[in-house]
Symmetry: C2
Subunit: 557 residues, 2 copies
């Protein structure tokens, strides 16, 4: 088969990268094959300009993808960039039929060939990473450098990580084995073959804020395990995944496979294509990032499929004491400010004893802690708007904007949110973070998620009560991140014990250049699947093992 020969070339090209990734997921030290700095010294003098031009070439036109259906444009940029890109609205029956036609040859190609093709797709996207970064920037509202890093290299890292897990899982059993059982006379012997078979059509439902980072793991985990993938991007952020689908189809065709192994499912305005797709009997795998309500709907209704959801949670910081008060305030402030708190990993509740905390600057009252964090946020954001917008970006959608106003009435303002004018984009919707004080008995308010640039400094009776609140809220509502500040090993241990009990990843005493809302592929797990915020982790064995099955045959040999 000509196809197979062509892909073996891709496997050979990328075997070393795959091998290195397999080592990385076992060792969990730092590693990345995709440089995170957009510097011309890394990517070349012309890369940024060429990528921007490539992005701009899409604007106001039909997107170059060969799928049937009327064309629809649904995006509007938080920066006010005019997009007007028209994507094909392919009907669901066609998507399903085309995906199923493409499946058998991809199944028969085997894990090695599929890994090679998947890594070639990642490489092709990486070769166009500035184009992708501009797409993420324009549609999500992330500042450019963040859009480049989170939407480009870090997303590619997570995609490669998924390919590595998928490859490891598919090859944990040999493709063939001899079986020899001692018997009274001649031994019984059998020759056995173990085939990896895909589950069916995989659906990836993307989100507005991290269109690539949150979609790549499911996309590549499903594709690498033999399943055709239908990508349903968020209507507000189509371009990043459209670009990805475009390059994926290009690579698949070059490798001799049907490009319909990867298809884009764009919705009509007000449409419900995600729900329709999710209940199709052909769809056997669904990856979703987004609201708790739709995530729970999928878990309840898409019963024919393995459903992986990342929903919402109440990320929490326990502040007990610190030997670096300035570092703590600065680190927390950056976590609250980055992308206007529109990360699923942004802290929301900061639990501080009402009696204050011990620090390297002496005892600090509850008010001083709240003020310290607020001052650090102000310094990062409103104090120098031109610099601030490069951290906070723009507000991704109306709902996040409205939520700021709704929150303001439910606590005492420590730092108010205010509009900033973006020096580059006059129509950008920019708001600085809102920080409120809360009494512990206002739990009904802060125990639910307030997505966006909204955080609460909660006055508790003691660190002990902080840990009780932490257990109750995270145990009930879930969380993707948690952190603790303490100089007391016993408090750190007690918090770690609580984190184990409620199943949330914990960061301790972050005061420097690592932030609680960041997780590094190949080393940190993102979400645990052990609390209500998500039913799976990026990435572990459980994330890939159910995406295929083994079917064996045996005969005497």
């Amino acid at each position: 088969m000509m196809g197979a020969m062509t892909e073996n070339r891709y496997y050979a090209t990328h075997a070393e990268t795959l091998d290195r990734a397999l080592t990385a997921i076992r060792e969990r030290d730092y590693w990345s094959p995709y440089p995170e700095s957009p510097s011309p010294r890394v990517y070349g003098e012309n890369a940024a300009a060429e990528g921007k031009a490539a992005f701009e070439s899409y604007l106001g036109k039909p997107f170059p993808i060969d799928q049937p259906g009327e064309r629809v444009a649904t995006e509007s940029s938080p920066f006010g960039i005019a997009l007007d890109i028209a994507y094909p609205h392919t009907d669901v029956d066609t998507l399903m039929a085309h995906a199923q036609q493409a499946m058998p040859a991809w199944r028969d190609a085997g894990p090695q060939t599929r890994a090679g093709v998947c890594i070639e797709i990642l490489s092709r996207v990486h070769a166009n990473v500035f184009e992708l970064a501009n797409a993420v920037h324009a549609t999500s509202g992330q500042a450019f450098v963040m859009a480049f890093q989170a939407g480009g290299p870090h997303a590619l890292d997570r995609g490669l990580e998924a390919v590595a897990y998928a490859y490891a899982e598919q090859t944990r059993h040999p493709a063939a084995a001899q079986w020899t059982k001692p018997a009274k006379g001649e031994p019984l012997t059998m020759s056995k073959r173990f085939h990896v078979v895909p589950r069916g059509v995989a659906l990836v439902i993307g989100c507005n804020t991290f269109p690539t980072w949150n979609s790549y793991p499911g996309f590549f985990a499903s594709l690498a395990t033999g399943n055709p993938v239908v990508v349903k991007p968020h209507p507000g952020s189509v371009l990043p995944m459209a670009v990805t689908v475009r390059y994926a189809r290009e690579v698949l065709a070059e490798a001799g496979f049907d490009p319909n192994l990867v298809q884009l499912a764009t919705d009509l305005p007000g449409g419900t294509i995600a729900a329709t797709l999710a209940q199709r009997p052909e769809v056997k795998i669904i990856d979703f990032t987004g609201s708790g309500a739709f995530g729970e709907w999928l878990e309840a209704n898409a019963r024919q499929a393995a459903v992986y959801t990342e929903k919402s949670g109440v990320n929490t910081i326990v502040v007990d004491s610190t030997d670096d008060f300035a570092g703590m305030c600065g680190n927390i402030a950056f976590s609250l400010s980055l992308y206007s708190g529109q990360m699923c990993t942004t802290p929301q509740n900061i639990l501080v004893p009402a009696g204050g905390i011990a620090t390297d600057q002496g005892q600090k009252s509850y008010q001083e802690v709240a003020d310290g964090i607020a001052a650090a946020v102000h310094k990062l954001t409103a104090a120098d708007p031109a610099r601030g917008v490069e951290i906070i970006g723009a507000i991704a959608n109306e709902a996040n904007l409205r939520r700021i106003d709704a929150a303001r009435d439910h606590g005492e303002v420590v730092l108010d949110s205010k509009p900033l004018t973006h020096p580059t984009y006059p129509d950008a919707v920019v708001r600085t973070p809102l920080v409120l004080k809360q009494a512990a008995d206002n739990e009904n308010m802060f125990a639910s998620e307030w997505f966006g640039p909204i955080s609460f400094v909660v006055a508790t009776d003691s660190t002990e009560q902080s840990l009780q609140l932490f257990r109750r809220i995270v145990g009930g509502r879930g969380a993707l991140t948690a952190s603790v500040y303490s100089t007391d090993e016993k408090v750190l241990d007690a918090t770690e014990q609580a984190a184990l009990d409620v199943g949330v990843h914990l960061s301790c005493n972050l005061t420097g250049g690592v932030y609680v809302n960041q997780s590094a592929a190949f080393s940190d797990f993102h979400a645990s699947g052990a609390n209500a915020a998500a039913n799976a982790a990026l990435t572990d064995g459980a994330y890939v093992a159910n995406r295929f099955r083994i079917v064996q045959s045996r005969r005497h040999s």
Copy 2:
């Protein structure tokens, strides 16, 4: 902690066995640490008599297990053995509370200690394997040697296989890692810990026919990954799992753990404790073997849990041609006769071209093929009843008995089912297998499962039509096994292709001492999870990976 020291002893004792099992699941050659022959040369002169005495010591008494609740006796033996063993009916709230209390110390013990304790439980059960075999024999209706092999060593093999998979999956990531990321100045460094945390309470719902073999994989997979296990045996076959629970609790206590990590949940007559347990919020994992109806109910309603079901299917043989007609008939006949076809892996439909098949004895007509299989079944069963009952055992329950009569009216009898008198047990309910001829257009009848000693020789237009039927029926209803007889590589390939498409394991040209209804642990997968008969396989990565989560903590180092 004293407990931990004690179990490390168990790990040290069994490390070599674990290591060998880990090699076996990777290589998939024959291996077993539990000899399958009940011969006194293997197990010692007194083992059989002592095991029988131990079994008999349970009869007519309260079962020796320290759980609260009124005592209930629900079993009746297909051989007519008087059982009257009274098990505790512990209420559900108590089961849940005790399981949850036991969990944290077991979680904190870690994968290695848990693996050691689990293998010690297997060893303890193995040291009492004749007692267990008598329990399986008496309650399931399996002939003694089969009860010994399938209920003892083969079940223990599957249990150890699950422990090995669970251990491999939990240790695929290190327990701790250093992370060093190059930065402009000093590198960023973090020290990370990765904790394995259980999902919650695990429920194992057993079946009547294979009380240990079908329960051990889920039992040991859940326990080895840190989850307390509640065992809900079939009311007709409680003793085998009660014995298992007894020895498990004994080992856990010796190892310094709470014996309530393993509890027995016996139902009252006519009770619905399985459904009640399955919907408890504490229950996060369910393993079920049994009817399609309850399996589907669990999948639909036990939404808080990861549900692993083995339900029902329509196992199929495609007969195209053979170079060993006598061997084929004998092999098929044994598969139909063993334990009166009461295996989830017993073939039901034998698809034979109406125009006959080419064999080493010349062309054989459809009728001759049906007669050849029927004659071989008769020879194994009714021709010498004293020998026959050692193959067919007894009919496990009324439903299977009634089904024989119901089937007889829906086809042409090739070999009728008849009662046999058991030489040892005068009250045993024994029936020889029923073999019927079917026209291909009677598909509505034979396309559903007829569990028990009932099989159909279906006349098809051609092997091509046989494969179409195979695809349609197995694709729709599912199957645990399939086999094909052909001397033509093209037919074998086409059947293997069809088996891949419908996700069923295939055996080719079995004419000797391997039977389609047998699967060997460490080498053969049992069920695939790729068709309607089961949603998981014994055992692969997917079977264990969702039984725990990883929760990490990190701090600067």
